[in-house]
């Protein structure tokens, strides 16, 4: 009975793994299938011969390297800035009691409730006289603001897990609070910082609607915008589109694999506390 249960358990896990990975596997498969085999070997699990031709073509003859660079700049800067400033605000929410604290928390909660799609039009109207449409800077500012509330709550939960005595004793020894924060608390929060970086990077790397609205033209297009334009223009070249898709997948997955073991840990700590 218990052996049957164990087998059923492993099979169920296997089913989930297959369901999770199969679409990604298929993406990879089509991206290495030569054009002449694409239709004749449509449902085969692996083409009779594989090629990197599509990748070469995309890298050499399309604007994807630029899109890739743009996305890297936008997602990287957003992740850095968000983590920096939300570690400050998360620390404040974790350690200080001050008048107006609830207003701050309420403001951040409100931003999580309303549909961001509401902001598409007004943000476009606000950014365009500032010359921030069609610019990576504009995207970085918008993405930073969108990600800051969640990152603040996340960092707060990590700071809550660190005993106050640590910085209290440092401050009694004469260190300023900011020094104690930088030299004692921040190093202890490194896993939390890594998780926040990963979250925000992935979110900024994936964002589509505001990028579509704010960016036109190839020079400052991010990967999602570039890929969608590519799809609507050359919708027959599946091999190349999927090769580009695989390239868009790689950085997000790398980041995720780095941080995924902190996800459940971090949330468990939060759940125990709350």
């Amino acid at each position: 009975m218990s052996i049957l249960l164990t087998i059923a358990h492993r099979l169920a896990i296997l089913a989930y793994v297959v369901f999770a990975l199969f679409p990604l596997y298929w993406l990879l498969k089509v991206s290495v299938t030569p054009n002449d085999l694409l239709y004749s070997e449509g449902v085969r699990m692996w083409p009779s011969h594989a090629t990197l031709e599509h990748y070469r073509y995309v890298l050499e003859n399309s604007a994807f390297p630029i899109f890739f660079r743009n996305s890297l700049i936008v997602a990287g800067s957003t992740a850095l800035v968000v983590t920096l400033i939300s570690s400050l605000s998360g620390y404040a929410l974790s350690r200080f009691t001050f008048r107006g604290k609830y207003a701050v928390v309420a403001l951040m909660l409100i931003t999580q409730m309303f549909p961001l799609v509401m902001l598409v039009a007004p943000i476009f109207k606000m950014l365009s006289p500032l010359g921030l449409t069609n610019s990576l800077m504009g995207l970085i500012i918008v993405y930073t603001a969108f990600n800051v509330p969640f990152a603040t709550f996340l960092m707060q939960s990590f700071f809550d897990g660190i005993p106050r005595d640590l910085e209290d004793s440092a401050m009694i020894d004469g260190a300023s609070r900011f020094t104690a924060f930088r030299q004692i608390i921040l190093p202890l929060t490194l896993p939390g910082i890594a998780a926040t970086l990963g979250f925000v990077f992935t979110a900024a790397w994936s964002e589509l609607l505001f990028a579509l609205m704010l960016i036109s033209g190839n020079d400052s297009a991010t990967f999602p915008v570039g890929l969608l334009t590519f799809v609507s223009k050359f919708s027959v070249d599946f091999g190349q589109m999927m090769a580009a898709g695989v390239m868009a997948l790689v950085p997000a997955c790398l980041f995720f694999l780095l941080i995924q073991r902190y996800l459940v840990q971090g949330l468990t700590a939060g759940a125990v506390k709350g």
């Binding site: 358990h9 169920a12 896990i13 989930y16 793994v17 999770a20 990975l21 679409p23 990604l24 298929w26 993406l27 089509v30 449509g42 449902v43 400050l88 605000s89 200080f96 001050f98 107006g100 403001l107 931003t111 999580q112 409730m113 309303f114 549909p115 799609v117 509401m118 902001l119 598409v120 039009a121 007004p122 943000i123 476009f124 109207k125 606000m126 500012i141 930073t144 603001a145 800051v148 509330p149 004793s169 009694i172 589509l208 609607l209 579509l212 999602p224 890929l227 969608l228 599946f238 589109m241 898709g245 868009a248 997948l249 997955c253 995720f256 995924q260 073991r261 459940v264 949330l267 759940a271």
Partner: protein, 310 residues
């Protein structure tokens, strides 16, 4: 240790400048975040609310005047909007239910220790890291009979009579984005529920087992009550989030065929992005906001009632 040296000295009254600095300290830490949120989220939100009552068309330099409730009058006669509203219910309900159901099962499966759990966990959570636009494209390709296997498999299984693209079929098209959404969203529920499961004290289960409770009884009398608060809050948050989540639909079907997959959020985006009618788009957004707030209120009140009953 250090307390004794500072404690023996009489404490001087803090000078005014010092007290001011102390009071300002939390605000210094939160200032960058607050400035950004106010400038990039709160101000546009208020502007957006005002657009709902104004005639704002991007390409028309003479637009911008107040039109009162005109947009809402137009909206009340807009059959495309009512269809989008119905589609939103269907899209949100099916997605949340399936994500939650499969996410809960996955969390229960992963809660048992087994060899290779770390790896299995990393792999099943991977879809969550896939950028949503790519998840949408990827599934659209899977449903495409030219390069995807799904239509052919469905024919072999007898679900479909010919290998057609379900995204082009008005009656089935909504299932495309829903399946993509379920694939992408299962990990979120699994992660939160797994975290909540791991916070349940293990000795409760041992005590129940000693008392002779069978696995089903242990599940209903220990696991479920412990998970209930997490379930309530994640389902609430996810429902609101998915109702607003237009990426997959815009990428996979763009609302088509014949508006059968247009949800309110994608309709707003289409009005703003394609027709550049910011006023009308903002009016729809305002209605959506009110509906979502009403929904959240109802859930919160129900939850409160249930807590008071206990």
């Amino acid at each position: 240790m250090t307390l004794s040296t500072t404690g023996s000295r009489p404490r001087p009254l803090k000078p005014f400048a010092r007290r001011l600095a102390d009071a300002a300290e939390p605000w210094l830490y939160t200032a960058p975040v607050l400035v950004l949120i106010i400038a990039v989220m709160l101000v546009p939100l208020i502007l957006g609310l005002s657009y709902a009552f104004r005639d704002i068309q991007l390409l028309n330099p003479f637009s911008g005047g107040f039109v009162g409730l005109d947009h809402f009058r137009e909206l009340s006669q807009d059959t495309a909007f009512y269809r989008a509203l119905r589609n939103t219910l269907w899209w949100t309900g099916a997605s949340v239910f399936l994500q939650f159901f499969f996410g809960l099962i996955l969390a229960l499966l992963l809660d048992k220790p087994f060899a290779g759990r770390g790896l299995a966990q990393a792999l099943v959570f991977l879809p969550w890291a896939v950028p949503t636009f790519l998840a949408g494209l990827n599934w659209a390709w899977m449903f495409n009979p030219v390069i995807g296997p799904l239509p052919h498999w469905m024919v072999s299984l007898g679900i479909m009579s010919a290998p057609n693209n379900i995204l082009a079929d008005p009656h089935l098209a909504m299932w495309g984005p829903i399946i993509a959404n379920v694939w992408w969203g299962i990990p979120f529920f699994a992660i939160t529920l797994l975290a909540a499961l791991q916070a349940i004290p293990r000795d409760l289960y041992e005590a129940a087992a000693i008392d002779g409770a069978n696995p089903l009884q242990r599940f209903t009398s220990i696991t479920l009550p412990f998970l209930a608060p997490t379930i309530a809050i994640t389902v609430l948050l996810r429902t609101v989030w998915i109702a607003n989540f237009a990426d997959l639909i815009i990428v996979m079907t763009n609302g088509g065929p014949a508006d059968r997959t247009q949800i309110v959020a994608s309709y707003i985006f289409t009005q703003a992005f394609k027709r550049l009618d910011f006023g009308y788009a903002s009016a729809i957004a305002l209605v959506l906001l009110v509906l979502l707030l009403a929904y959240s209120m109802v859930i919160v009140v129900i939850r409160q009632r249930l807590i008071e009953k206990d």
